[in-house]
């Protein structure tokens, strides 16, 4: 859904849903995940449908995910090395 044109070289290894992957750094968790094509942020607890970030400014709360053990807004949290993120979704089950 996005291309990263950046010259930024910072790369972090994070654990996303139990899998170790590399993401660009120097940006929010939401931006870093979008940059590598992980667009689903969560499954809506009420509608049971996949959701992705909508506002990227802390308003919509669609980017809520468990970050280092706490439910946080991914668009308002800076990504860091070794971060553990659980979206509670699986590839192929509406998750990307």
């Amino acid at each position: 859904m996005f291309n990263q044109e950046s010259t930024v070289t910072a790369k972090f290894e994070i654990v996303l849903d139990g899998e170790t992957i590399a993401v660009p750094g120097d940006m929010s968790v939401a931006a870093a995940l979008l940059a590598i094509g992980k667009i689903t942020t969560r499954t809506s607890p009420t509608a049971k449908e996949p959701r992705s970030p909508h506002c990227l400014m802390g308003i919509c709360f669609e980017c809520l995910m468990e970050i280092d053990g706490v439910q946080r807004q991914a668009c308002m949290t800076e990504v860091h090395e070794g971060m553990v993120i659980n979206r509670g979704i699986k590839e192929g089950e509406g998750g990307k």
């Binding site: 291309n3 990263q4 010259t7 870093a32 979008l34 667009i39 509608a47 996949p50 959701r51 400014m57």
Partner: protein, 475 residues
């Protein structure tokens, strides 16, 4: 006391940066809290960390932000990024959460400069991954140099929609269509705003040039579209709309929505600041005097959060609030405050000339939308427009009752996404004005915080009763 400040400024956008800088330059102890990673606010997001190519790409308007962040860094104001303010009390107390720890601090004066948001307007399918705010994508370009991949449709109304369209086109992004909900022929009501607008033609010429550039690309550009809908299975696939009697449809990987900008008023409502409804712009704003003082002596509101005026106006409002705070703290006498303020007031007036015309031109008109019964209104609690209409037909007449019964506005976003249109729908059903339908009540915490973080806080007897913090869960 180390956690007491002369002034706490909430928000590091143009308004907050200017207010903080001015006060700190006068030697005052100022703390600036902002939940973003870097200063700059929405318009100047990430500006002092942007790559040279990005600074170039985002244009002169963006680079202007560097002056503000440089001044701010030099001013001596203490800056805490990643700090989310979740409570403010009229006596001058602020609670914020940073890196999983909540702190409570106090100040003689508080300047709230938390800005504005894109007006959320529910359309069928707007919860599908791939449907985002146009401003959100603009922010991503600034923050992370991300550009949409694949086919993009832009839809809605307002100068920022066209600005985003021209930025994407310049980058060579595959823009499939621009679908404006703005009517083809503006209503005659805008004529009264024309003479004033002619006093500030720079802004208008810039807009016209942008439109010409868009036209040259040959991208389909419709005006007066209705019945906009996003369609897809797990992600967006198609965007449909109607233009007159013509049905139009575009394949799309992304739909960028934008329906103008409105003040984000949760923080003021939580404080129980007096609020007023702006009938023409169709948004709520806090009532302030010309310095930005709210109905509370110690609490100031500044920038776009007090009424949308753009970056320059936000900057000037920040200066004015700071001057009055400095005056109240005894740093400058009345005559100095007034003489310093005079030129700012003049710039503010000049800057405002073209606004009424632009705003009238792109004015949000709920009558242009059908708000279908099966459209999800409250994204958090999955409440549809039909659910709202049903309980109104059963005799409910007030927004907070609607909330209590349907859970609309009760999820984590606390009605930020559904509140504005909920007000419009309830008012329309009741055949009343929006203020008569009420305004959703907001209680702390403004943003979710884990119970453990609250429990770890050093709460003294005269503070917030933690038991109160979860009241909003029941209403």
């Amino acid at each position: 006391m180390s956690d007491h400040y002369d002034a706490i400024v909430i928000g590091a956008g143009p308004a907050g940066l200017t207010a903080s800088s001015r006060l700190a330059e006068m030697g005052l102890k100022v703390l600036t809290l902002d939940e973003q990673i870097r200063p700059g606010g929405q318009i100047y997001r990430n500006v002092d960390n942007a790559s040279p190519t990005n600074l170039e790409k985002m244009g002169e308007e963006y680079r202007k932000g560097l002056t503000l962040t440089e001044r701010f860094r030099k001013s001596g104001a203490i800056y805490l990024n990643n700090s989310s303010v979740w409570n403010v009390e009229p006596q001058g107390r602020v609670c914020y959460s940073r890196d999983g720890v909540s702190e409570r601090i106090t100040a003689n004066y508080i300047i709230i400069a938390t800005g504005a948001m894109e007006r959320p307007v529910p359309i069928p399918g707007w919860t599908l991954p791939g449907v985002m705010g146009a401003g959100a994508v603009n922010g991503l370009a600034k923050e992370a140099e991300l550009s949409p991949a694949g086919k993009v449709v832009l839809a809605g109304s307002g100068p920022l929609l066209l600005l985003e369209a021209s930025l994407l086109l310049e980058k060579g992004i595959e823009v499939e269509a621009i679908l404006e909900t703005t009517p083809q022929i503006p209503t005659p009501a805008i004529l009264s705003d024309v003479p004033k607008a002619l006093l500030g033609t720079g802004f208008l010429f810039k807009g016209l040039k942008m439109l010409r550039d868009i036209k040259k690309t040959g991208v389909p550009h419709y005006k007066g579209i209705k019945k906009l809908r996003a369609i897809g299975n797990e992600t967006l696939e198609t965007v449909e709309a109607e233009c007159g009697s013509e049905k139009i449809s575009f394949q799309a990987d992304m739909l960028l929505l934008h329906f103008g900008v409105i003040p984000e008023t949760h923080i003021y409502r939580m404080l129980k600041c007096h609020m007023q409804w702006h009938e023409k712009y169709r948004y709520w704003q806090p009532v302030t005097d010309s310095w930005g003082r709210t109905n509370y002596e110690k609490i100031f509101a500044s920038g776009d959060g007090t009424g949308v005026g753009g970056a320059l106006a936000a900057e000037i409002k920040g200066e004015l609030s700071a001057l009055e705070v400095a005056h109240c703290l005894g740093i400058i006498p009345t005559y100095e405050r007034d003489s310093l303020a005079a030129s700012h007031r003049e710039s503010l007036l000049k800057d405002s000339y073209p606004r009424p015309l632009i705003d009238a031109f792109f004015a949000f008109n709920p009558a242009n939308f059908t708000f279908d019964d099966d459209t999800v209104l409250c994204r958090c609690e999955n409440v549809t427009v039909g659910d709202i209409r049903t309980i109104i037909s059963q005799g409910v007449t007030e927004l907070n009752e609607v909330k209590a019964i349907t859970r609309c506005g009760m999820g984590p976003c606390q009605g930020r996404m559904c509140g504005p249109v909920l007000g419009e729908i309830v008012a329309a059903e009741l055949d009343a004005r929006v203020p008569e339908a009420g305004l959703l009540t907001i209680r702390p915490p403004l943003k979710q915080i884990p119970l453990g973080e609250l429990a770890a806080m050093d709460i003294v007897a005269d503070g917030v009763d933690p038991a109160n913090l979860f009241k909003n869960q029941s209403k």
